[in-house]
Symmetry: C2
Subunit: 209 residues, 2 copies
């Protein structure tokens, strides 16, 4: 069997963006723009200038692409939440300090994994893959609520807002990044995290009013 | 032509939920659960136990249903924002007071029109109807940002967060209601609005820390 000549090999190796990772990035982008249900593997193939079978070479199904995206987002968020929970054992930092740290790191995850988290936050629960992601999301939300409750219980937070409602609103503020944050925009993750933490803990009104 | 007998008329008039408004409510609910692109008029007909032609008797197209839903949400939000803007003319209430009022009323609109606003906040821009809704949303966002800027300019808000970023985060917190608010849950609109305003202006940390 003849070895492929360099000239035959070159075009294939030289065309950028046909590894598994690139197919996944384009898929996430397309799912976010058109909705997962509104996107077919044929749409993705056209977007990449590939055949459908070339897509299937990398991923066995559209659902597998979705699962890979959701897992990326969930793993990153879970790590932030679980690190904060573990740090609280054996008289570690206060719940207040851990809540501040989680808010900061959650903003970091959203900025770093923006397309995957955007997809996660729009999941409807139309399939087993989506239902599984929603289950993991609920576990994360429950751990966040427990952390807010711990900060309230240690007396660090005002007592006139139920901790569960505080948790919804705080992480609602963080999650809103998927709607408006633009990587090429004027704010970096640290700047957004500072603003979130200032509003959340200190509020916007000038002191002494 | 014989008049329909009462017994023939009764089942038609007695079956609930086949007026235009009810078809729209079911359509919005289905769009939110499955995604607009993932829902067909056939799905809606099945959901209501109607034929497709019975649906088309009420609405000329799926896109018309979407437009009706988005218009409901946008009209309600625009009214809140425009009322706040008008109130500021002729030395009316301060921008700070108007911002507080807009936050409270925006929570009210989200609670009252939750399904329609949920649909609005998930629009992708896949059609002229969606693009038009996104354009109106951007106008609302710009007016909200202008109000936050006016409150900052009058010296009511801390100066270390850019007003545009503050606006994104505040209304991100409000908009998060579409993700977690349940009408049958433990919080009413006034309770959520109080919590939003306390966090936004006073912050969660106990004073004097």
């Amino acid at each position: 069997m003849p070895r492929p000549s360099p000239t035959r090999e070159a075009p294939r190796r030289g065309r950028p963006g046909y590894d598994q990772e690139t197919v996944l990035r384009h898929a996430i982008d397309l799912f976010n723009r058109r909705g997962y249900d509104g996107t077919s593997v044929g749409d993705l193939a056209r977007e990449l200038g590939l055949t459908k079978s070339a897509i299937y070479h990398h991923f066995p199904s559209k659902s597998y692409l979705l699962q890979a995206a959701l897992t990326e987002a969930l793993d990153a968020l879970e790590e932030v939440v679980d690190t904060a929970a573990t740090a609280g054992e054996d008289s570690g930092p206060s719940a207040y300090a851990r809540l501040e740290s989680v808010l900061r790191q959650a903003v970091g995850v959203l900025v770093e994994h923006l397309p995957a988290v955007t997809l996660l936050l729009r999941v409807h629960g139309n399939s087993d893959v989506e239902l599984d992601a929603l289950r993991r999301r609920r576990e994360i939300d429950a751990k966040l609520a427990a952390l807010v409750r711990a900060a309230a219980d240690e007396g660090s937070l005002r007592a006139d807002i139920p901790p569960e409602l505080t948790s919804r609103l705080l992480f609602g503020m963080v999650n809103s990044l998927v709607e408006w944050y633009r990587p090429e925009g004027r704010y970096d993750a640290a700047g957004v995290a500072d603003a979130v933490i200032r509003i959340a803990f200190e509020g916007l009104a000038l002191r002494g009013e």
